[in-house]
Amino acid sequence: MSELSVVGTRRPKVDAVAKVTGRARYTDDLRAPRMLAAKLLRSSRTHARIVRLDVSHALALPGVHAVLTGADLPIAYGILPVSQDEHALALEKVRYAGEPVAAVAADDEETAERALALVEVEYEDLPAVMSIEQALAVGAAAVHEERPTNVHRAAALEFGDVDGGFEAADHVREDIFFVHGNTHVPLEEHATLAEWDGSKLTMHTSTQVPHYLQRALERVLELPTSRIRVIVPALGGGFGGKCDPFSHELTAAKLAIVTGRPVKIALTREEVFYAHRGRHPVLMRVRSGFARDGRITAMEFRCLLDGGAYGSYGAASMLYTGALQTTTYAIPAYRFEGLRAYTTKPPCGPKRGHGTPQPRFALECHLDKVAEELGLDPIELRRRNLVEPFSWTVNHLRITSCALEECIDRVVEASGFEEKRGRLPHGRGVGFAVSAYMSGAGLPIYANELPQSEVQIKVDRGGGVTVYSMATDIGQGSDSVLAYLTAEVLGLEPADVAVVSADTDLTPIDLGSYSSRVTFMAGNAAVEAAERMRALVLGAVAEQLGLPLDRLVLRGGRALDPGDPESGVPWVEAIRIAAASRGPLVTAGSYRPPDLAGPYKGAGVGPSPAYSFSAAVVEVDCDPETGEVRVEKVWVAHDVGRALNPLLVEGQIEGSVYMALGEALLENHAFRDGVHLGPSLLDYKTPTALDMPEVVSIVVESDDPEGPFGAKEVGQGVLLPVIPAVANAVHDALGVRVDEVPITADKVIRALRQGRVGPKRLPDFPFRDAVRVDPPAQWRAAP
């Protein structure tokens, strides 16, 4: 790999200058001639039947152009085919305070707001359902009346001989944990601008998933996708919060069609909290059996998710709370029972780590407790159970490149963990945890056999290269990654490569920026397209110059024979030669992950072409009198396969650590009396610059055989170990356990008095007998 000139180097992102000069245009920065502003009327009730809805006074207000209600958009939708349970505007019933009920398009926002006040809604209240316990209680009000219970989805799966594993165990331990919900808080409030020219709809919108939004628009508006163009301008942060088709997008589109004028909806910060789709609150029980030497003999997880009012990604979220525990530890027998309940709250969905941070928190705290009971060093306990590279897990996940052990070694050494654990003064402590995450979901959201990502490359006569991809840069730098990969293959500088992205008219399919899939999937597609371009150009050059093709490379802006640096031609000349003999210089590449799903229902969640691995050490300083936990320093080692740009990798590591610390200590998407406790940036505490500790990022490279230049994911996985590492550090510091996050100061004080703060039991639920799945043929029990 020593010949790489772009990959592996620290360099700016391709959009960096636009972003520091204010030139980058985000959705709300856009305006169109004759544009109207629209606002949504939101439910003031938590759970209620809409008895009467009269918009006549609103419609009569001068300056108002259209008013919509649920009846105008009656077709249900949802991001997952199995959960088509949302409406753009509530039909008959509202299921959370803040749910959109009506929409007004007017000359400006102020007029639209005045009109909203004139909409008359009469509600008949229904009982609120605000927790997992309430949702599952006998006689609970039905959030969706057509369903017999509030259980949205449930699953019970068993891999290997779980009962036998527990019987063989020398030691069995059970723990219960709770993760309160939290939310993404992208700094950019969601916005959308819809335009209708009489036959075609164009949406500029802040989404991470233009393709899926296009499909939802197709369904709800009954327009063919050929008449729908979705464009994502610069996007001000997503973290999973802009992965669903949203009410405001469908409503703005309909209003544009109805009025014949461009319509913009820009959510307020309060509304962003209602749009939500954030981290599910999850109540968890983990039980494991261990042999005397610390080897896991069996494990079972029961996870109860508080889903909020609608499905969103919830069917997948629920399965994710069970899927990835086996990707770090060689668990020989594993049972998972999961359930997602409907409640009358804004729907939860995917937030950075989607469904996996909650069980990872539980698992890594549980393992520390087990280690303590067994008298084992917590790291040694983990080492004895580590998953092996190029192996299969008992639940049919294929592990390929894996440098988890190196991650552990590096982070333990850098932090001085072993010297510090149990040896720091009272109030100070260190905690450790590991995790793994997918480099893209192996299966698309809707069943199909098609590529998940396609990339086209066009070369113009001046030598400029343009890469076309629907991958959506949400700040993580996917445009840059596509430019780097293309430049690397073609021997150019990234500055020579223009990236056109996230436009459904101009760019070929990419499923979107979720599940850490873009670098791996769009990246592989880009590499393939670029390699085809290279072959095309070099083939023509070889022919023209009479050189053997296998001696030619593209490097440093030339097509040349590396053995004869004086040979060859400049890139511009090379492409002229190629264009003359080969015609249009256009190539395409695509990527479809290998078929990896196991032979059981639910097996679509968890497989990925590659997993990243992380290990974290957190050092805390706790004030035993105030309960305040101050994180002093965080060390993270992350197996990213290959760092395509170490600067961006570090940025993702640091951002993940930050988001994890917010979740671990501060952030809580809480409700009181059926209503969001504080939908504002004052009430919902995101860490400030003064709350952020030093971060030591250690980039570990395992050179994945299937990743583009060996790369794997880095955007999400690092978040996972940090949260349990904080909890474990608090325990090391104070000797008490807070088995729920966020670990706020008041809980630490309570724990100091009681020894532990956390849930004591799970509500009863009669899971069906687990579906027994044989381990994969390639799986072998540990010797």
Partner: protein, 329 residues
């Protein structure tokens, strides 16, 4: 985008002129200086004044001066950023500068004023959210309904005094000069506040807070501690101002302990203060005083973290404040 409701803006040049405008313009007229408290409240439609009287153009409200006797006079229009940096303030009333430095964020401190912080609206997490949200809880006493959501049985509003400067001003025995349409008067800082979340100020609506006068220190040592979840931006969950004067042998001649954010006004801990009288500031005395101080605090469930926790923190932070003052002595 959250936008301000329409209003008329008046720009008087003197405090007396401003007071006259406030007196003559009726109840839907409000004074505004920095606006960092009022404008968010207006954007959330908690208040929708028809007329605003801007105090920004009034030169006499600016500046900090120390008299020869050591008396400190702070113009209410002084911004918190100016206050923090003013050597007159940092030498004569460092606790006030410390409290000002802990208010909100750097950008807010650039425009927020001393007068504005002292008169800051009481806060409650049943109240300080947009109108649609308030509608979803059925509004509250402060928002015009007839029920307090924090204590539904009672008849008063329990919104919290959230000024960082107020506890310090009270602890320093500061006075405020009020300029009204009918003339001006001096008021002890403690009397500027009423124990009611709605009518929380003991001044007439036409009166403008013009100056804060801090008496000569004469050996008074003071400090301020602020509890909040984040290092910035947040309002206090608890503020503890403490001021003590000790004799040469270390005995406490005078002590004032004032709590912020535990009630609708700053709360003086009189019993705790008395318990310190004549005693040296040693751990035993401090602990006893802190316990008495905590007994006074009755935080409610209307801001971040639990009331029980906030009450417990009174004891911790009064202890720490007094310990700090011991070290300073």
């Amino acid at each position: 985008m959250m936008r301000l409701p329409p209003f008329r803006l008046l720009r008087p040049r003197t405090a007396a002129e401003a007071a006259g405008l406030l007196a003559s313009s009726g109840t839907d007229t409000l004074a505004v200086a920095g606006g960092t408290d009022l404008y968010p409240n207006m954007k959330r439609r908690q208040v929708t004044p028809r007329t605003l009287v801007s105090l920004r153009g009034i030169d006499e409200l600016r500046g900090c001066r120390a008299g020869e006797d050591g008396e400190l006079r702070i113009g209410a229009g002084t911004t918190l950023r100016q206050l923090v940096a003013d050597p007159v303030v940092t030498s004569h009333a460092p606790a006030l500068a410390r409290a000002a430095a802990l208010v909100s964020s750097p950008q807010v401190r650039t425009v927020a004023t001393v007068g504005g912080n002292l008169c800051i609206d009481t806060r409650c997490n049943y109240y300080d959210l947009p109108e649609g949200w308030r509608a979803s809880i059925g509004f509250c006493l402060k928002a015009g309904s007839d029920v307090c959501r924090v204590a539904p049985g009672g008849e008063r509003c329990w919104a919290i005094s959230s000024s960082d400067l107020a506890p310090v001003a009270v602890a320093l025995d500061a006075h405020v000069r009020l300029v009204g349409a009918g003339g001006e008067r001096m008021l002890p800082a403690a009397e500027l506040y009423e124990d009611d979340g709605i009518r929380y100020l003991g001044k007439r609506p036409d009166e403008i807070l013009a100056d804060v006068i801090v008496p000569p220190g004469r050996g008074l040592r003071a400090t301020y501690r602020k509890v909040r979840q984040r290092g910035s931006i947040d309002f206090p969950l608890l503020g503890v101002a403490a001021a003590v004067r000790t004799s040469e042998d270390g005995a406490c001649e005078e002590a004032r302990i004032v709590l912020g954010a535990v009630a609708s006004r700053p709360v003086r801990c009189l019993e705790a203060e008395q318990a310190l009288a004549g005693r040296r500031l040693e751990p035993g005395a401090i602990e006893a005083a802190a316990e008495l101080a905590a007994a006074v605090a009755k935080p409610m469930e209307n801001t971040d973290l639990t009331p029980l926790y906030r009450k417990r923190m009174v004891q911790v932070h009064v202890t720490r404040a007094l310990a700090e003052l011991t070290e300073l002595g």
